[in-house]
């Protein structure tokens, strides 16, 4: 076996082995997403699978062709390459095929994006969130059922959550270190930051939104599972970024009501 044949063999083999391992571990879902827990997440996962099939076909096809060409067209002493400069028909049809695949991806993607970014349904249960280095605080309305205004300008030692002192609805609001929501309704989340950028990530719900000081950002989703889920911060926010962990509990409305009843409204604790 001469050097060229040996090189071609190794190269082609490596590409095929790599492609096989990559394809197997992905198709087998050996290392995969956390268990799914929301309606929107199911749709995202479906689009993910469509994209995975399309890109997977291209990935496998290109690598097999590459391996084949490496082997088939390795240099041989008496061989000569063909003089082929272009093939317009091939290039146009290849571009058209790619464009067609993109129409599917863009169509599916923008439709789903519109759905996810549209305003939350009327019956959504709203939780407000304060993010700061390096913790999440969750804000619920008190007995009056209305959420009071908050603003970073009102924050002081006595008023750590920046409740508006002139807002009557703010008097009985509840702040918690854990997030609880009732199962059955869509959940709307309003996000605020006191200091730097953070990002509110719900891996099981396939949801994420940055938290930006100076503005309110929003997300909404519909849980399909009760249970306890983690909320990692996904925007670098300082040395404690990796321990900025929150917890979300989705529970029955009865359990939720019981839990919220046990929380102490902030105004009374002052």
């Amino acid at each position: 076996m001469n050097s060229s044949t040996r090189q071609a063999l190794w190269y082609a083999l490596f590409i095929l082995i790599f492609t096989a391992i990559a394809t197997y571990t992905v198709a087998n879902k050996t290392w995969w997403f956390p268990p799914l827990a929301s309606v929107q997440g199911a749709e995202i996962d479906r689009l993910f699978m469509i994209t995975l099939v399309i890109t997977g076909i291209v990935f496998i096809a290109v690598h097999i062709v590459l391996a084949y060409f490496i082997w088939r067209y390795r240099s041989r002493p008496d061989a000569k390459a063909a003089y082929i400069t272009h093939n317009t028909r091939f290039e146009v049809s290849a571009a058209a095929t790619v464009a067609l695949a993109l129409v599917i991806l863009v169509g599916g993607g923008t439709t789903l994006w519109t759905k996810i970014q549209s305003p939350p349904p009327e019956d959504a249960f709203t939780v407000e969130v304060w993010a700061e280095q390096f913790r999440w605080t969750f804000h619920y309305p008190g007995a009056d059922g209305r959420m009071g205004n908050v603003d970073v300008r009102f924050i002081s030692d006595e008023n750590p959550y920046g409740l508006d002192p002139n807002d009557p609805y703010a008097k009985d609001d509840i702040f918690t270190t854990e997030m609880h929501v009732p199962y059955g309704a869509p959940i709307a989340v309003i996000l605020r930051s006191k200091d730097v950028l953070h990002s509110f990530f719900l891996p099981h719900f396939r949801m994420k939104m940055d938290v930006v000081p100076g503005m309110k950002t929003r997300m909404w989703f519909t849980p399909t599972q009760a249970g306890t889920f983690e909320i990692p911060c996904t925007e670098l926010c300082g040395v404690g970024h990796y321990i900025m962990r929150g917890v979300l509990t989705v529970e029955s409305p009865e359990q939720f009501n019981e839990w919220i009843r046990q929380q102490t409204p902030v105004a009374m604790s002052q």
């Binding site: 190269y11 790599f18 291209v58 061989a79 599916g108 280095q133 000081p213 040395v239």
Partner: protein, 624 residues
């Protein structure tokens, strides 16, 4: 091409009169594009080495959290006090790794290194259009390297707000240790780098457009030149946005302005500002940041095209379409920046537009990939070290490009954004691919640069360890992304949703990274050893067609001797039917039937003695 000819008659005379003699003007403050290219290349490789060592240290932390590594105290006395990497040190390393690799290694070596060396030689010019500016460009780059390296040694540590330096984290000293003096030095260094890059890019574009040899029409330029000048144009148009951003961020930091800062409460302290928006920085940053990734990939694409055609002994497939794709990718790169900001709080309807523009980039990218495969098809492939890297580029570009179709689609980006899937994606498509372009290019042009060949055996060992190891690192990272592991995490042990067997993947990644790192020592030894005592290189060791191989090895000051080359054909005449050799240099007239003596023919056409009608004694062959 019609161009004017003003006052060029004295040019060659001047060149010969100004041949530098002293050590300082010849090797240090040189205005010769080849010396500047080597200066850029070596400085960038040194910076890249620093960036790589940083990645080992934080990779060790991720695989073996808080493992005691007392020897690292010598490298980082303040951040490794107890022998384990501490959190501020981790964030500093992650930030500096990204910054150094993207700007100080990849951008610098591709445009400053390859751009400088190849543009004059491949278009048939004696030097850059503005040699003094070219020298200044290098020294500004050198200064920016000094500033960024110095920032590692300030007491509060180097910048640690990520290579993207998002405010308010990067604006408020209290927010994180690195946002003290370290962040100022980061911003100053980047501003200096942009000055250097602008001076360089002006030269690259001007030289390629105005100083081409006779017969070198635009559509006879090698794809390397196309890739580099389009990248240079992207730099000229996009870098000013980051320069403005850097100045504004410095004002926000020190003069109390509110460009990027709203009213904040950091650690209980009120920071009173008006209603600035942190999103403005993100727009400015990514307006550069996205073209930037194409600044890194387009020259690498050009280099790869060049090597693939040469190694397959076959014309590049679809040359015109390749040029068109480079231009299309360059244009599109300016209208896709928002895909970095789908979940940033930007108006979601903007995301809609950015999905469409982003995915359109897949079309020219796919065409290029098909054309590279088309170039190999029916070729006669020689597996030289440059060719191994060029073929590797096709694989990494496809692998990394395809994952872009997930991230560019906003709905899919929601769960994947800021996870290891993103880290995997950009390292494969822009890190590995451009590094493969760079290594391929170094092995390929080293003989012309130094007059010596690099060792092929060690080159192949270097390639295989790098190729296999890199997939070990970066393919594996996709799985971490699926599992939802966020980027920029010092440790992940407090999260239950990340399964315990993820640790296996972390170890695979780190071990692979250390192997890839070890392989780079082979490269360094090969590079230095071959330069000192490698095999003498012939003028055209790869039997290539482009102009630089017609120059003496290594090319003298002024590149071409008394007369400039004249170009008669496109750069990819490999395996022309009827020709006895499988390559015909660009300088061979079409009417001259190539014989077995093709090389001599080329030299003869080049030579003064033959008095070709197009080359007069003045050597003034800029125009065609």
């Amino acid at each position: 091409m019609e161009t004017t000819s003003i006052a060029h008659a004295e040019a060659p005379v001047e060149v010969h009169h100004h041949e530098p003699q002293s050590f300082w003007t010849k090797y240090v403050f040189s205005q010769d594009h080849k010396v500047i290219a080597m200066q850029y290349m070596i400085t960038a490789l040194v910076m890249g080495f620093i960036g790589m060592v940083m990645s080992w240290i934080f990779r060790i932390q991720l695989a073996w959290p808080e493992h005691n590594l007392p020897f690292l105290r010598f490298l980082m006395p303040t951040n490794m006090e107890s022998g384990t990497l501490q959190t501020p040190g981790y964030y500093m390393l992650v930030t500096m790794h990204g910054t150094i690799m993207i700007f100080f290694l990849l951008t610098a070596i591709l445009t400053g290194g390859f751009g400088n060396f190849l543009i004059p030689l491949q278009v048939g010019a004696r030097d850059m259009a503005f040699p003094f500016l070219n020298m200044l460009s290098y020294w500004f780059y050198f200064l920016s390297c000094v500033v960024i390296t110095a920032s590692l040694f300030v007491t509060t540590g180097a910048a640690s707000a990520g290579w993207t330096s998002y405010p308010p984290l990067s604006a408020i000293a209290k927010a994180t240790p690195g946002s003290g003096l370290g962040q100022d030095l980061w911003l100053i260094s980047i501003a200096l780098f942009i000055v250097a890059s602008t001076m360089g890019s002006l030269n690259y574009v001007t030289t390629a457009l105005n100083m081409r040899a006779k017969g070198m029409t635009l559509m006879r330029m090698p794809l390397t030149v196309w890739g580099i000048i389009v990248a240079a144009m992207l730099g000229l148009f996009a870098f000013p946005a980051l320069f403005a951003g850097a100045v504004l961020l410095l004002l926000d930091r020190h003069l109390g302005t509110s460009f990027f800062l709203p009213y904040l409460v950091v650690g209980g302290e009120h920071i009173v500002r008006n209603d600035g928006s942190p999103l403005l920085w993100q727009h400015l940053f990514w307006f550069l940041g996205h073209p930037e990734v194409y600044i890194l990939i387009l020259p690498a694409m050009g280099i790869t095209s060049e090597i693939l055609s040469n190694g397959a002994r076959k014309p590049i497939f679809g040359y015109k379409v390749m040029v068109g794709s480079i231009a299309a990718i360059g244009f599109l790169s300016f209208i896709v920046w928002g895909h970095h900001m789908f979940v940033s709080g930007m108006n979601p309807w903007l995301g809609f537009a950015f999905v469409i523009t982003t995915l359109i980039i897949a079309i020219p990218s796919a065409i290029k990939t098909f054309n590279w495969l088309g170039t190999l098809w029916k070729g006669n492939i020689r597996f030289t070290t440059p060719m191994l890297f060029a073929i590797g580029f096709i694989s990494t570009f496809v692998t990394g490009g395809l994952t872009g179709l997930f991230l560019g689609n906003s709905a899919l980006d929601i769960p994947l954004h800021d996870t290891y899937f993103v880290v995997a994606h950009f390292h494969v498509v822009m890190g590995l691919s451009s590094v493969f372009g760079i290594f391929g290019g170094i092995y390929y042009w080293f003989p012309k640069m130094t007059g010596r060949m690099m060792n092929e055996l060690w080159g192949k060992v270097h390639f295989w360890l790098t190729f296999v190891g890199s997939y070990g690192v970066f393919w594996t990272m996709h799985y971490l992304g699926f599992m939802g592991m966020p980027r920029r995490y010092y440790s992940y042990e407090s999260y239950q949703f990340l399964p315990p067997d993820m640790h296996v993947l972390q170890v695979i990644i780190t071990v692979s990274a250390l192997i890839v790192g070890a392989a780079q020592f082979i490269f360094i030894v090969n590079f230095i050893g071959s330069w000192l005592r490698g095999k003498k290189a012939p003028d055209n060791p790869w039997q290539a067609t482009t102009l630089e191989w017609q120059a003496p090895t290594p090319p003298p000051h002024g590149n071409w001797g008394p007369t400039l080359p004249v170009v008669h054909r496109w750069p990819y005449d490999y395996s022309v039917p009827g020709a006895s050799a499988d390559f015909v240099p660009q300088t061979v007239p079409v009417e001259v039937e190539p014989t077995g003596e093709h090389h001599r023919v080329a030299v003869a056409v080049n030579g003064h003695a033959h008095g070709h009608p197009h080359t007069n004694g003045s050597g003034n062959g800029h125009h065609s």
